[in-house]
């Protein structure tokens, strides 16, 4: 049977737009993170609790991705941070083009830090580059310390892992040592933060890490 050789990346289109986004971020000196987790880990809470402090010194903006509602954008707006909501209407992840379209809402020349809060999902967003500098994956102590083993693709591509809800450790079967071991055997280069958005414990070192990339 005649064969036509193709050898094409299935997500080539997305990768090309992501490369454009990355160039836009670099040209404007914007540090961009792609924030990923399961639904309910605390992505929006982390932003609520830390962006105001960062915004004292730097220009910050947020792109919110959700399947439905603008609830998260309203929470970010409430703390005074410019925000654009992308509603995917069923789509399980953000794609580079959606982010690029959202960028027109911001004054990029004066922006220092952009957070793209992805749709809550530990599977699909792992495969879609958005042009970010770092992928930050969050998990919370109520989800179980085997999350990295269950979603290896996500933890393999992430640069940073945040463990949230450490205030609940006395009440849940979650071992900090086990989760670290599980995550580091998949990705030995992961940098790990332990924090509680509820009590504020550990937020300082996260904020310092962000500031270090903005200076």
């Amino acid at each position: 049977m005649p064969v036509i050789t193709v050898e094409r990346q299935i997500l080539k289109k997305n990768d090309e737009v992501a490369a454009e986004n990355r160039r836009i971020f670099q040209e404007n000196n914007i540090f961009t993170i792609n924030l990923l987790s399961s639904p309910g880990s605390g992505k929006t809470s982390l932003l609520e609790k830390t962006l105001q402090q960062i915004a004292e010194q730097f220009k910050v903006a947020v792109v919110e991705g959700d399947v439905q509602t603008d609830n998260d954008a309203r929470r970010i707006d409430k703390v005074g941070i410019p925000v654009v909501q992308i509603v995917t209407r069923g789509g399980c992840h953000l794609e580079a083009k959606l982010v690029q379209d959202a960028l027109s809402n911001f004054d990029l020349t004066h922006l220092d830090f952009l957070v793209i809060e992805n749709v809550g999902n530990l599977v699909c967003p792992a495969g879609y580059d958005l042009g970010e500098a770092k992928k930050v994956v969050m998990l919370s102590t109520t989800e179980g310390d085997d999350k990295p083993l269950k979603y290896p693709a996500m933890f393999r591509v992430a640069n940073i892992m945040i463990i949230n809800k450490t205030d609940l450790l006395p009440y849940v079967d979650f071992s900090m040592e086990t989760v670290r071991q599980n995550a580091l055997q998949i990705n030995g280069n992961l940098k790990i933060f332990e924090l509680s958005c509820k009590t504020g414990t550990g937020l300082d070192s996260w904020i310092s890490w962000v500031r270090k990339h903005l200076a």
Partner: protein
């Protein structure tokens, strides 16, 4: 799941290579790295759904799953990664670079 989105992208590539009906598409072969968390049956189902009532309706998708391979950044040992454990079997280092496993590729089309 994102299999539908992947299947749509695959169909777009097929359309680009076979825009007219001079040749009939028999099989579209794709390579999927096993790190990509793609379910082959689901991808095939989505593809078959999308090509329904198109010139490619009779075509089949063949999925080739590629195992994960990595190289140790310390001792350069190349290893096949099993159970997502990225630890060098030679020196025990955790600093491994993925060589294979992230693929999402349309490799070739078989036509008649």
């Amino acid at each position: 799941m994102h299999e539908l989105s992947l299947a749509q992208n695959i169909l777009d590539i097929v359309r680009e290579y076979l825009p007219n009906q001079q040749k009939t598409l028999e099989e579209v072969h794709v390579q999927i790295g096993s790190l990509m968390a793609v379910v082959p049956d689901s991808l095939i189902f989505c593809y078959e759904t999308l090509v329904h009532n198109t010139p490619y309706a009779a075509s089949k998708m063949v999925v080739h799953i590629l195992p994960v391979k990595a190289i140790c950044n310390l001792c350069n040992t190349v290893t096949e990664v099993k159970n997502d454990i990225f630890i060098c079997p030679e020196c025990g280092a955790k600093d491994l670079k993925t060589l294979q496993g992230n693929e999402l590729i349309v490799s070739h089309l078989e036509v008649r």
